[in-house]
């Protein structure tokens, strides 16, 4: 099939961006979306033009490096699917596809559709851990954890930190990300001693980074490639609220 791409081009963080239009010819339906872009880039290089800069690494939906807002929806809008797992069979011959970066003040553009998500790392550095050093830890079976709790923690832990939740949110809120990270640890007995402190520290850092507020529209959950549940935001609010009341 033949497609037309409208792609956001921006030389770097300092310059203004614009859309450029490129043809994508002889696209095969078995190609992944990123492979289609690889082919377009090969053509651009052959024509002596600058290829489109976009992030990707594992290309199997787990590293969270790929991004792209495709036709207005982060990761392209297929349930539980990251951009790298999206395949061209979902598009039709002759279609025009718009490709944009994650747009959020806290995710400055590096070039074209590649953005800087270091704000997520700084939120994690503020409290996204259990304070244990290497060595001297008790036996793995010393604390029994019910299967239901372990499974719930795992549901939250599935977050790949891609930032689609922020890109989808009209306020560019990072609440789903922070909620997933806080919940994974706060649900487990190992995370219990620091749970209020953790929630406060991570939310404080989130605000500092310039992410917006959460109004619980659920757009984040809808685009999350790992289908992280909105209910974790309630869990975060609870831990944060009690922490604030206790003055932790």
């Amino acid at each position: 099939m033949n497609l037309t791409l409208k792609v956001w081009r921006q030389k770097n963080g300092q310059s203004a961006g614009h859309f450029d239009t490129y043809p994508a010819r002889d696209v095969i339906e078995d190609m992944s979306f990123l492979e289609m872009l690889d082919v377009v880039n090969e053509d651009l290089i052959a024509a002596g033009k600058d290829p489109i800069a976009f992030d990707s690494d594992c290309r199997e939906g787990i590293c969270g490096m790929c991004s792209l807002v495709i036709n207005g929806v982060p990761h392209g809008g297929h349930r539980g699917t990251a951009t790298c797992q999206l395949h061209m069979r979902h598009f039709k011959d002759g279609e025009t596809i718009t490709i944009e970066p994650w747009r959020a003040e806290a995710f400055p553009i590096i070039k074209d559709v590649a953005v800087n998500r270091a704000a997520f790392d700084r939120i994690m550095q503020a409290g996204g851990f259990i304070s244990v050093n290497t060595g001297g830890t008790p036996d793995g079976n010393a604390i029994p954890i019910s299967k239901a709790v372990a499974d719930k923690s795992m549901d939250a832990a599935a977050c790949i930190g891609c930032g689609a939740c922020v890109a989808a949110c009209k306020n560019a809120s990072a609440m789903l990300f922070v909620a997933a990270k806080v919940s994974q640890l706060n649900l487990l007995p190992q995370g219990e001693p620091e749970k209020h402190r953790r929630a406060l520290a991570m939310v404080t850092q989130m605000d500092k980074e310039g992410f917006g507020s959460c109004t619980v529209t659920g757009s984040c959950e809808a685009v999350c490639p790992k289908e992280i549940s909105l209910s974790f935001i309630a869990k975060l609010n609870r831990d944060y609220g009690i922490g604030a009341l206790l003055g932790k």
């Binding site: 492979e35 290089i45 199997e60 490096m65 994690m124 996204g128 851990f129 244990v132 499974d151 994974q184």
Partner: protein
């Protein structure tokens, strides 16, 4: 230089304890005086950087990804082995040790493997304490599953994403240290050279991938945890960014490379769908428990719909050739058998490089629901990629490169032949011999980073007493200049071919001549062709953009340039090893029934290659492998 493995004396089971007592320590108050550079932030790198930070060292950690949490350890699905014996099924440190040595086809260093098995139990405790949500039983205790190459159930897992969860654990420990200021993190930064002063590694040269700036970082020791070199084949299950640049450039500065020909091919990957293919995706091997592997008997049937091919016209070749193991024949054997069928022109799907993995019989026998329960997530993944419903039509699979056992040669302390340069995880050669068992890669990465290096690096500091380095030293300036020249050279060619097309050509050549099966004639052809291809690369590559900007084409071209050299050493090593062992199958050396024929008399050694200069033949050094506690038996799956 002779290879000194520094294996401690004494009985195998006591070596590590004895060594930990014998090695020198650095006083807690003095640790902050030592700077350590860690390159790579996967399981080995992140765990090492975090642990060294906790101990009080001043650490700088570098990764090419935009966050340390994205390193490719994240993609491991199955699990992590540990000799906990929680299942009361007879597991022990010695059994894990023996399984790993045997699985590695008796080409790994005994003392290292024993230590790996010993510290495996600490890894699980550590990860649980960090909040890794391992699978649990209803009683609240940790759950285990069985894995290939073992008769006990010792694999711990977190759904199908054990790698991600373990990495997030190590990453959280790393984040804590970054927050405390003991580790400084440099994401989107690539190491391009090691700096050697007075014979010791004293720092690195890096390129900031966003600004393009090239800078020097000095340290008292350098730790490489930069993963494997599977992407030399262009197509592999590795992430797109995985590369051999760090270990290759360290090789050129004196760190020998060991056994580069040992590469592991996984039998159950989704086949290539066309020329555009950028990477391959692994499907869990567990599918072979219920799926039957077959190809049509006749070439003419290959294009027909599989359902229309009569039972009598199908060749269930694994069941035919290995009646006792059938579809569960080991990885290397199944991989080679699939290749053989496709080489005979009986492959299926686009490009005819695929075989069927058919669940029709299992669905008939067990019902659709049972199959969905067991493999539902894998069938979903398969459908996402291929658009096919494997409940209705057989899956198509084909082998793909996914792990490399070879790597930088290290001694028992994980130090390379370049003093002060330590190498961890997949980047080193030490623990898996010629073949790695499932669920052992995660174990090794974390063992090296949490529990081995933090001890052994102290011994280096306390005993070598090196002068404090400075990044203003002339050696740093010289190395920076070299890197700038290399970058400029890539950018100045502006030829007709893209880095991708050249990389793909190299990959195809290596896959054909140094892939699942190798022979002397093919390897010689490759050794003739690679230098030509390299020359073509340096004449015709077109690297767009400039040096001082975010330039993905430039990053990639540099990695391809290194693969163009690395591939040659791989073939040289494969040609030199006139035997078949583990992932290295030399077609001339097989038993009458097609099994690998190992030659312990002549080849029970590690081949460590020394760089002698550009366009000069490397020199091979041998580390003889001696086994005191195990008998070198023949692997048999008949």
């Amino acid at each position: 230089m002779a290879l000194e493995s520094n294996i401690p004396s004494g009985p195998l089971a006591q070596k590590w304890d004895k060594h930990k007592f014998d090695i020198k320590l650095v006083n807690p108050a003095n640790k902050r005086k030592f700077d350590v550079i860690v390159v790579g932030s996967g399981l080995a790198g992140a765990s090492a950087a975090a642990t060294l930070g906790e101990l009080g060292y001043k650490v700088k950690c570098f990764c090419y990804q935009d966050s340390p949490r994205r390193a490719h350890s994240i993609a491991a699905q199955g699990g992590i082995n540990a000799a906990k014996n929680y299942q009361n099924d007879g597991d022990s440190v010695h059994r894990l040790f023996y399984d790993t040595i045997k699985g590695g086809d008796f080409r790994a260093r005994e003392a290292n493997v024993y230590r790996l098995a010993q510290v495996s139990v600490n890894i699980i405790d550590q990860c649980v304490a960090q909040g890794v949500p391992f699978a649990r039983e209803y009683g609240g205790l940790l759950s285990n599953r069985s894995f290939g190459g073992a008769q006990v159930s010792r694999t711990f897992y977190a759904r199908g994403q054990t790698g991600q969860q373990l990495l997030l654990g190590a990453y959280s420990a790393l984040c804590r240290q970054i927050g405390m200021g003991t580790v400084k993190m440099y994401p989107r930064t690539e190491m391009l050279d090691v700096v050697v002063i007075d014979g010791h590694a004293k720092g690195i040269i890096v390129r900031d991938l966003v600004s393009g700036e090239i800078s020097s970082h000095a340290a008292d020791a350098v730790v490489l945890a930069t993963g494997g070199y599977g992407n030399v084949f262009f197509l592999s299950t590795n992430a797109k960014g995985c590369n051999a640049t760090a270990i290759w450039r360290a090789y050129k500065k004196g760190a020998y490379l060991a056994n580069p020909c040992y590469t592991q091919i996984h039998p159950t990957c989704i086949p290539v769908s066309g020329e555009h293919q950028s990477k391959l995706t692994l499907m869990s091997e567990s599918l072979r428990n219920d799926g039957r592997v077959w190809v049509p008997k006749k070439k003419e049937d290959c294009d027909k719909a599989p359902g229309s091919i009569a039972e009598d016209d199908r060749d269930y070749y694994l069941e035919r050739k290995y009646p006792s193991y059938g579809n569960l024949a080991p990885r290397d054997i199944s991989s080679r058998a699939a290749k053989e069928a496709c080489d005979q022109g009986r492959g299926v799907g686009p490009g005819k490089l695929g075989v069927y993995l058919d669940f029709a019989d299992a669905i008939k026998r067990l019902g659709l629901n049972v199959i969905r329960e067991r493999y539902g997530n894998l069938f979903d993944m398969y459908e996402k990629i291929t658009g096919e419903n494997a409940y209705q039509v057989p899956m198509r699979i084909y082998p793909a490169v996914h792990y490399t056992m070879g790597g930088t040669w290290v001694d028992y302390n994980l130090m390379s032949t370049l003093p002060g340069l330590f190498v961890l995880g997949e980047a080193n050669f030490s623990d898996h011999g010629a073949n790695r068992l499932g669920a052992s890669a995660l174990m090794q990465g974390l063992a090296d980073g949490y529990f081995v290096l933090p001890y052994t690096i102290g011994n280096y500091f306390a005993s070598s007493k090196q002068a404090k380095p400075s990044s203003s030293h002339a050696e740093f300036k010289r190395a920076e200049e070299e890197v700038r020249k290399f970058t400029q050279r890539l950018l100045s060619i502006k030829g007709k071919r893209t880095p991708t097309s050249l990389h793909r050509e190299l990959g195809k050549l290596l896959w054909e001549k140094c892939g699942m099966g190798r022979n002397a004639a093919g390897l010689k052809e490759a050794l003739k062709r690679i230098p030509e291809l390299r020359e073509e690369f340096w004449k015709t590559v077109n690297v767009t953009g400039e040096a001082m900007e975010f330039n993905q084409a430039l990053e990639y071209a540099g990695r391809v340039a290194d693969f163009m050299e690395f591939g040659e050493l791989m073939c040289l090593d494969a040609l030199d090893r006139n035997e078949s062992c583990g992932g290295h199958f030399r077609e001339e050396f097989q038993t009458p029934d097609g099994e690998a024929a190992r030659n312990d008399e002549k080849y029970a050694y590690v081949a460590a290659w020394e760089f002698r200069g550009q366009n000069q033949a490397p020199v091979m050094h041998k580390e003889t492998l001696e086994y005191t506690e195990v008998h070198m038996s023949t692997r048999s799956y008949k």
